[in-house]
Symmetry: none
Subunit: 285 residues, 2 copies
DNA sequence: CGAAGCTTGGAACAGTTATTCTATCCATGC
DNA sequence: GCATGGATAGAATAACTGTTCCAAGCTTCG
């Protein structure tokens, strides 16, 4: 690797960026050829501009996992006299952003139509997701949740089943449970091998199945077959009338709001994560 | 003039306002029967909230023509431990529409409102998701979003790439785009066939790639290879320093909040859905 | 392998911070 | 007019601030 060219202090001093946008551009441009620690700071600064604005040098250094002196070197290498000078940039950014924020808030309160085009769509999906989350918090059956965690904590292996729309949830659970050190297998039906994937599952394991209207037939069949074989079943679904409820040991209802034709997944994912972490806690503790 | 009733320290301590709006209301209400200097401070605080957020106690005291100690008495008379506590309110007002997530959680716990066990965890994940969504709405780069939609709308086939944590997003996009009647293929690396899956992709297509820290090496490599072949790349990632940004035609930043070790996916999914539906609209219209 | 160059960590520094405390001031009630 | 008690100003203080400086650590080049 070629040695990075020495930083020209004159060049740096000539041009201490005066606005956040300028600074940001400069940081992005130089990030590649910045020493390790300074690069770390650059990253933190751009990713957490609010912290940079308010924190003391000690706090920021701790959060960025750097020495306070490194922050000063960073500031100076971009042409500022010291850290305080650099911090001014971040503070001004917040000051200037404020009026914009006020207007938006007012617009939202009035119930105005909001933004147009893709941004408007985004507002819609974000709204739907937030609404789903709020409903989940208030409507969750705490008892069922506790029983579900108990079942999963007792299981030897946790099998995950969710197809089509619910596949995002089951695949994320496979990732999360793995990270938590829990044995889990994802019945993903690759190569139409679902029967074989489910073949070795027994009563000592547990099935966590996710399905929403229109319930994928394969999901229901596989879940039902496993339940018949004595496998405890925890179901995440969208209605008390779901075909999963008759044979589920525990079922949890999530009512996802929709924006247009598309339903959110935010609540289902939050619930899934809760199950994963609570199970890990129950087992580990 | 009637003598002002003595301030009841208990009453003040019972209720230190936690948001700027609450504080403002309280100040306005008490302003009439406040001692001269404290009234002076009240007025300055409401009129110059930015100064209150950024300044040191000495600067503010000078600007408000008051003694520093008066600022502390003012803070305490509203139930705060000292000036620094009061200043937090003004800082949070600027920092984010939403009070700091961690402190909110702490407040919930202290107030006894927070639930215990799995339900408490659920609250945490729901909070993190909601916060991510709020930040997405406010922080989204509308221009980039529009350019991204334009690229995707022009594409012959939309290729989806996202592994590990991001796989939930890419797989959901595969489902959604299919429902919308758009040709999309998911590069899922089943059987380690990623090279073959990506082999037929050309400049007439487009790649929609999703990756978060720690960026899966295979994702970056494949995306970079396709970009080199002239495939337009739209990236959803979590930082301006993501390894995707150098070769992405457009990149969209989502800053997901975390609850414990696990990050939410709510904002990424909402953004993904937005891209899908906006692309369908752009093409169908 | 040795030398030279930045880069890095950590201690030392002077200056400033928020806070506490006390003497003084002023307005009120008797 | 005097006593009372909160409000105020200002000095004292201890903690912490941002900054400087230097020795040790790497990396790269000769």
């Amino acid at each position: 690797m070629p040695r990075p060219p020495p930083i020209d202090p004159t060049a740096a001093a000539l041009s201490a960026p005066e606005s956040f946008e300028q600074l940001r551009a400069r940081v992005l441009e130089r990030h590649g050829h910045l020493p390790r620690r300074l690069g770390q700071i650059a990253r933190f600064a751009i990713d957490h501009p609010d912290e940079m604005a308010f924190g003391t040098i000690a706090e920021i250094a701790r959060q960025a996992e750097v020495q306070p002196s490194a922050l000063i070197r960073f500031s100076q290498s971009f042409g500022y006299a010291g850290f305080s000078d650099l911090q001014q940039i971040f503070r001004h950014r917040l000051r200037d952003r404020w009026p914009d924020y006020k207007e938006r808030l007012a617009a939202l309160r009035q119930g105005g139509v909001g933004r147009e085009g893709p941004a408007g769509l985004l507002d819609g999906f974000a709204d739907a997701s937030a609404q789903s989350l709020a409903r989940l918090r208030e409507g969750i059956d705490t008892d069922a949740l506790i029983r579900a965690v108990a079942i999963l904590a007792k299981a030897d292996t946790i099998c995950l089943l969710g197809q089509r729309r619910a596949f995002a949830v089951s695949s994320y659970l496979a990732y999360a449970l793995g990270q938590l050190g829990l044995r889990a297998i994802l019945l993903d039906n690759v190569g139409s091998l679902m029967p074989e994937q489910a073949g070795a599952v027994g009563p000592q394991d547990a099935l966590l199945v996710i399905s929403f209207t229109p319930y994928t037939p394969g999901t229901i069949e596989t879940a039902a077959a496993l339940a018949r074989r004595g496998v405890p079943v925890v179901a995440i679904t969208d209605s008390a009338f779901s075909p999963l409820t008759p044979f589920a040991s525990v079922w949890l209802e999530v009512a996802e709001a929709d924006c247009g034709a598309f339903r959110s997944l935010a609540a289902s994912l939050a619930l899934a994560m809760t199950l994963a972490v609570a199970t890990a806690k129950a087992r580990g503790g």
